[in-house]
């Protein structure tokens, strides 16, 4: 199905194409940037990656032979009764932070895209550095929450080796966390570029692909939050 769409777009592009035949600058069939196509293909692939991880988590849900459990109270070998381990209030907060980071990211893109537009000059809307840094900080905050969550789980006796829940939970959220980490580093790199040479309208695509990645990571968290944390 992907192909049929692309077919049309290609024939669209066709009309624009003739003028460019003789210039040696890089010609692309669709007029789109390579990187953007690649990142979307990458995101498609990531869908399968996270679906596999999420499926595993769901398949193993309720199959652990020893506690701790996510939503059920459990008794330790020494006979102590423990509460369910997932901490919804804290995670809700971190979810909110990640959601906000997506807003910041989109505003950062907006700012870069409108470089040179007077309406955006000299106000917060055009301040790409600010929005980039805000996104990175929000992302880092999310990671902080996750670090807190992980360590408190370990204190409560849940490690990646404890049971099926522990293995699948830490691997799923850990993979997500790793993606967030890469995202934060990527955004910081953009920030550094903005700081050192200043991003211009021409750099839109660089910010765009990073933003797409970042939003995707956010979207994955939306699914995880519901499937792992809220649904019993």
């Amino acid at each position: 199905m992907a192909n049929a769409h692309a077919a049309e777009s290609a024939s669209h592009a066709h009309e624009h194409v003739h003028e460019h035949v003789h210039e040696h600058v890089h010609y692309t069939t669709t007029g789109l940037d390579h990187k953007k196509i690649a990142i979307w293909a990458f995101i498609g692939s990531e869908c399968m990656l996270f679906i596999s991880l999420i499926s595993t988590y769901l398949i193993y849900k309720g199959r652990s032979v020893v506690g701790p459990f996510p939503h059920e109270a459990w008794t330790s070998p020494s006979g102590q009764l423990f509460a369910p381990i997932l901490n919804i209030p804290v995670t809700s907060a971190s979810t909110f932070v990640l959601l906000m980071s997506s807003l910041f990211m989109v505003l950062a893109l907006e700012a870069v895209e409108h470089k040179g537009n007077p309406a955006y000059a000299n106000n917060i809307r055009g301040n790409s550095k600010f929005w980039l840094m805000a996104t990175a900080i929000a992302g880092a905050t999310f990671l902080g929450f996750q670090a807190y969550e992980f360590t408190s789980f370990v204190h409560e006796g849940l490690t990646i080796r404890t049971n099926l829940f522990g293995s699948s939970f830490f691997t799923l959220t850990g993979f997500h966390g790793a993606h967030v980490t890469v995202g934060v580093l990527w955004i910081l790199t953009l920030f550094a570029m903005d700081y050192s040479r200043g991003l211009t309208k021409k750099d839109t695509v660089l910010v765009d692909i990073c933003a797409l990645y970042w939003h995707f990571v956010d979207v994955v968290w939306i699914a995880i939050f519901t499937l792992v944390y809220l649904i019993k």
């Binding site: 692309a6 293909a41 398949i59």
Partner: protein, 637 residues
């Protein structure tokens, strides 16, 4: 064939790595990378064949004692793994690399350095997974490595570690390449090359790239679990923790079934180039060929559990997967019939590539039919895990993929090396291959239905399997002779074959419009494409006078005549012509090296050298990140 255009040696590309070995190691030219893939993959094909030969020697007689049980188990695991991941996939990749840019009229792929990275990761990963066999330490869990046999509880040694990490590494190579080709095909088609004018090989490759990016994540996850289980003590497959072994099976086959179409579709694409050329007719039913390819790819994601008809999934699941599997026979059948129709009313000339293409039609059909027999779940409970399955998949893999790829090699050899391969040796190769193949694999249908399980290193006398096994082994000897003839032909013809012109066979697609071998920039001027067979429009107007190959919107043939396909440049270099080309660079190689070192470091954890493990892994990771950074911040051209 006329000896018109002389071979043009391409001038050494770039400043730093002028010539010789370095020019290959630092290359980012898609053609050179394709050539590297070709040579490496052919080597591994021979290696996998050698492994098969040892197995066949062992099985020639009952209670054989050529190899030990342990070595045999390593042999079939590595034979399967080698053939699938180190031979056929990279052989296909050789063609993706070499041909896609040429067929769509581009100067290179979208991300040339990523392309080099893919190759180096493949090469290093292949070495990583192969070398242990010399120490009898090779993976021994079967090519689909079912848990829990592969967990540390049942396979404590390093064997499975090599497999887990090797496949993980190879997966990265395939994924990187796939993103690259998707982008290339979407975005680097020459003006006028609409999707529906793309050569069929490019189309099938395009579909394969989507299969790759969607199938590999599933096995990546399955392997990550296994890796974590083995190295960090997680419980994904730990029986005591209540793990479910079917998790591995599902994740593996969600990958594994699309994988078999990853293996066959490129061969289908090659055949779709060869048949029209030697029938002097356009491909029959181009649109249907495209859609059936898409259907095969799409349906391929919904049938994985047909590999699990004996695991007791329940009647409903068995029924659904059985029927879904059968559906695939329809688009595949359409392809077979359309190919036959392509030859129908044509002028069929039996060159070597054509023989292999026809061989594919004949043999793949047999494998397809036995596939449909498998798809009938109750019947499959008698067939699964016997030699009948082995017969099925060698008919589709050898009779399909390998036949197609050999056809492709004979067909594109003149383009790649500027010389033809010998037709008479090719003839010998084909017939010995064809006969040997049938003699090897046809009897396996019998031994399977007569009760012979697969993956057994020895069997009792008097079970009624002796004759068939002997026949299979004799067939293998023929295959070896055939393959050696091919190797001789290949090596000799590179220097000694008769010289080929640009358009070696009278084909119709873009790649034949440029010199053989092509200059590093491929097209001095990017052509404008007005039809599916632009070269035929140009050279054989009589073939196109009655009907245009251009469809659906028919740009006029006259247009094509006006815009010459290829400007003779008299061997000028890219620089002389002012064509910017990507710089040669070693960074992708270093990144690949870092990646492999990173994984390899983990091995030391199992020899209890934790500090060494961490140092190596972190060192590898640092090398990877450092090279990546250097690579991303340096300009492409």
């Amino acid at each position: 064939m006329a000896n018109t255009a002389a071979t043009q040696t391409t001038a050494a590309p770039h400043a730093a790595y002028e010539s010789g070995l370095w020019s290959w190691i630092a290359t980012v030219d898609h053609k050179r990378i394709g050539t590297l893939y070709l040579f490496t993959a052919l080597f591994f094909f021979l290696f996998g064949g050698l492994e098969a030969f040892l197995m066949r020697l062992q099985l020639a007689q009952p209670n054989g004692h050529v190899v030990s049980a342990e070595l045999y188990n390593q042999l079939f695991t590595m034979h399967g793994t080698t053939m699938v991941f180190l031979a056929i996939m990279p052989l296909s990749a050789a063609f993706f690399n070499y041909l896609i840019p040429l067929q769509i009229g581009a100067r290179d792929v979208a991300f040339p350095r990523l392309n080099a990275f893919s190759y180096w990761v493949y090469l290093l990963g292949a070495i990583f997974i192969t070398v242990p066999i010399f120490f009898e330490l090779a993976p021994n869990g079967g090519w689909f490595g079912y848990a829990p046999l592969t967990t540390i509880q049942f396979s404590g040694g390093l064997n499975i570690d090599f497999w887990v990490m090797g496949l993980q590494i190879l997966g990265i190579s395939s994924l990187a390449a796939a993103f690259n080709f998707i982008t290339t095909i979407i975005n680097l088609r020459a003006p006028g090359m609409t999707l529906m004018r793309m050569p069929m090989f490019t189309w099938m490759s395009f579909i394969v790239q989507f299969l790759l990016i969607l199938a590999f994540p599933a096995i990546t996850v399955a392997l990550v679990f296994l890796l974590f289980d083995r190295f960090f003590g997680t419980n994904f497959y730990t029986l005591a923790a209540g793990a479910d072994p079917l998790l591995w099976q599902h994740l593996f086959w969600i990958f594994g079934h699309p994988e078999v179409y990853i293996l066959i579709l490129p061969a289908f694409g090659l055949v779709s180039e060869i048949l029209p050329t030697f029938s002097k007719k356009p491909l029959f039913g181009y649109h249907v060929m495209v859609y059936s390819g898409i259907m095969i790819g799409f349906l391929g994601f919904g049938v994985w559990a047909h590999h699990m008809f004996a695991v007791g999934m329940g009647a409903t699941a068995d029924a659904i997967f059985a029927m879904a599997t059968m559906l695939i026979a329809i688009p595949t059948g359409v392809k077979i019939f359309n190919w036959i129709a392509t030859m129908w009313a044509g002028e069929v000339s039996f060159t070597t590539p054509m023989k292999f293409a026809i061989g594919l039609l004949a043999l793949f059909t047999i494998g397809g039919i036995s596939g449909v027999m498998h798809s009938s779940a109750p019947a499959d409970t008698q067939q699964t895990d016997t030699y009948f399955v082995v017969a099925h998949f060698h008919y589709v893999l050898f009779g399909g993929s390998i036949m197609g790829i050999f056809g492709g090699i004979y067909f594109y050899f003149p383009k790649m090396f500027g010389r033809y391969m010998s037709e008479s040796l090719g003839n010998w190769h084909f017939w010995l291959n064809f006969i040997g193949m049938n003699l090897t694999f046809f009897p396996m249908h019998f031994s399977g239905m007569l009760g012979m399980p697969r993956r057994i290193y020895s069997y009792d006398a008097g079970q009624g399997w002796e004759k068939f096994n002997m026949a299979s082994t004799i067939g293998t000897v023929l295959l070896i002779i055939a393959t050696l003839i091919f190797v001789i032909n290949f090596l000799k013809s590179r220097k000694g074959g008769s010289v080929a012109p640009n358009d070696a066979w009278g084909a119709g697609t873009l790649e034949w419009s440029i010199p053989s071998p092509p200059p590093d920039y491929n097209f001095a001027q990017i052509p404008t494409v007005t039809s599916r067979y632009p070269l035929w429009d140009l050279k054989h107007p009589e073939m196109t006078s009655d009907i245009s190959h251009a469809s659906p919107d028919a740009a006029t043939v006259a247009d094509a005549h006006a815009a010459p396909m290829h400007e003779e440049t008299g061997g000028k270099t890219a620089a002389e012509l002012g064509i910017p080309m990507p710089f040669s660079t070693l960074k992708p190689l270093f990144a690949a090296l870092g990646l492999v070192i990173m994984f390899a470091g983990l091995l030391f954890m199992h020899t209890d050298k934790f500090a060494l493990a961490m140092t190596t892994t972190i060192g590898g990771a640092a090398l990877l990140i450092g090279s990546l950074y250097a690579w991303l911040t340096s300009p492409l051209e």
